[in-house]
Amino acid sequence: MNIFSFQQLVNGLQLGSIYALIALGYTMVYGIVRLINFAHGDFYMLGAYAAYATFFLFNAYLAHMSTGYGLTFIVLLVAMLAGAAIAMLSNTFAYKPLRYKPKLSSLVTAIGVSMFLEYFFSAFPPIGPSMRGFPEILPRHMYQFGGAEISNYVMIDLLVAAVLMTGLTLLVQKSPLGKAMRAVSQDKDASKLMGIDVEKIISLTFFIGGSFAGAAGLLAGLTYPRINPYMGILPGLKAFISAVLGGIGNIPGAMLGAYIMGLAETIANAYNSLLGEGIAFVILIIVLLVRPTGLLGEKIADKI
């Protein structure tokens, strides 16, 4: 297969959509509280498991639901809610009490939350550490288009990502809530003086970021149908690198970076699987050496 075929472009965009949804959560949280939320990849894992559980609960109690677009939509909502709920919970219990302590302590706490989620789910008997097959919630159809085979899964991945990202952009740019979010990310104290409930905005940011990660978890479960409690580590890392590539804290940057990352990884993987594993870190080192602010990021001067 040609490394630079149309098929590869489609695959890259599909992977990029999943990375973009995760990267947005990273970049929004970083933009507002300056915290690398290491547990973000685990919110994505949780979304996949919530989707998995919902599917089996539905099939056990409401057999007539079986499979199809309606069920996919319901499962998507559940996955998003699960991701959002766990994100808000970890914010309330782990990050909020440390908000005004040294930054390193919240970073360590984030590691703790991430470890807790991973090991709790692998130790919890009904879930366990082993790999599970993700059910085929939606019958798979293949379409021929421009010399490439495109399944309806690809379309769903691209569509869900596009809808969510458009919604987020509208929310952040046009709504009063979005204005408040942008204000908090610029200056927390000044926003407080302007009557913005800063904690509420931070909570909302975690809610949105978590729900996007949950959605990505479902999409990844559908597309690459194997899930386990550690599935969030690598995609989380790569999504974070995408956010750095686009300029951390910058929402369009995260989307751009994620699609570049998806394409780069797909192409590198076709070339050599070891390179496919490592390309993300090659990109990271190059970005740090050449343009540490990322593609769309601006240099922020230190305040003295």
Partner: protein, 336 residues
């Protein structure tokens, strides 16, 4: 010569060494081989914890892939001793060569540390965390794919050189060197970066140089510890150096206290023993049955407990058990 006194640290090290030697299976046998291995592991984790403390606690950076450097040290020294030199632990004259191999492993880890530390430490912010986390994953992938060092089978047949006196010697030297470093002017420059990077830069501290220096020295000692561990377990395996053991070292540093070498030493011993205790304890728990399904409480719960422990320490005792305090033993004595 009437008032000649051994330095306190040397005295403490000697007392510990003599007690363990007396109790060891070779002499009275009060401690069996199992306990000796736990003590040896604890000493290796002492090296890992205080070297990570130099990076995370003293210099105030955030490295997450400390075991990645241990992997480099383990594989480099293991390749030297088992494949190239074919050393034999029963030949006494091979021990100096072995120690040189361990140091070479440490140097290899230091070189790798420089290569990944330099781009990320040039910048302010948390980039080091992500780079080192990625490094930990990458080193595992690379080791899995190099057939010369065993690939996914791991590097087998490493000679069993890591006897207690050897490990004790390396651990002791690490403590002495890092203590002297931390309490020198270089150490104070590193501390000032942790307290306020901008201010220390304005006071003329070359922050990038000191950050890279702390990181490379930390990586060097991690490489030493990795080499010792490989020669204790007689194998080096890619899965030994993943995120999980790195996180364990991290917990030791934060539980003991950021910047306190005493805290790291105590935490390394406590947590190594606790890990073994929990493993044995959880294994002894009976199986139970719910809805005709039998469940066994798995040893994965150890890590759940540690995760909760880490979060609780951060929430309620952010500075760790020892805080910044040092034991009198670890403070350099004034010359009269």
């Amino acid at each position: 010569m009437g008032n000649f006194k051994l330095p306190r640290l040397l005295l403490a090290g000697l007392i510990f060494f003599i007690i363990v030697m007396i109790l060891s299976p070779d002499m009275t046998g009060a401690l069996n081989g199992y306990f000796m291995v736990i003590i040896e592991r604890s000493l290796i984790f002492v090296i890992l914890a205080i070297s990570l403390n130099l990076i995370n606690g003293i210099t105030g950076q955030f490295s997450l892939g400390h075991m990645g450097f241990a992997a480099v040290g383990a594989y480099v020294s293991g390749t030297f001793t088992s494949i190239w030199f074919k050393l034999n632990p029963h030949t006494l004259s091979h021990y100096p060569v072995f120690m040189i191999c361990i140091v070479i492993g440490g140097l290899g880890a230091a070189v790798v540390g420089f290569l990944i530390g330099f781009p990320s430490l040039r910048l302010k912010g948390d980039y080091l965390a992500i780079v080192t986390l990625g490094f930990g994953e990458i080193i595992r992938t690379i080791l899995n794919n190099i057939d010369y060092v065993g690939g996914p089978r791991g590097l087998l047949g490493i000679p069993m050189f890591s006897k207690f006196p050897i490990i004790m010697l390396f651990a002791f030297l690490t403590v002495v060197i890092l203590r002297n470093l931390v309490q020198s002017s270089h150490g104070r420059a590193m501390l000032s970066i942790r307290e306020n990077e901008l201010a220390s830069e304005l006071c003329g501290v070359d922050t990038v140089r000191y950050k890279v220096m702390g990181f490379v020295i930390g990586a060097f000692f991690a490489g030493i510890a990795g080499g010792l561990l490989a020669h204790l377990l007689t194998l080096a395996h890619p899965t030994q150096y993943g995120f999980l053991p790195s996180a364990l070292v991290l917990i030791m540093v934060y539980a003991g206290g950021m910047g306190s070498l005493t805290g790291s030493v105590l935490a390394a011993f406590t947590l190594t023993f606790l890990t073994e205790g929990l493993r044995v304890g959880i294994d002894a728990l009976p199986e139970f049955t719910i809805a005709s399904q039998t469940y066994k409480i798995g040893t994965e719960w150890t890590m759940v407990i540690y995760a909760i422990l880490l979060i609780l320490i951060m929430l309620f005792k952010t500075e760790g058990i020892m805080g910044m305090r040092e034991s009198r033993i670890l403070i350099i004595e004034e010359k009269k």
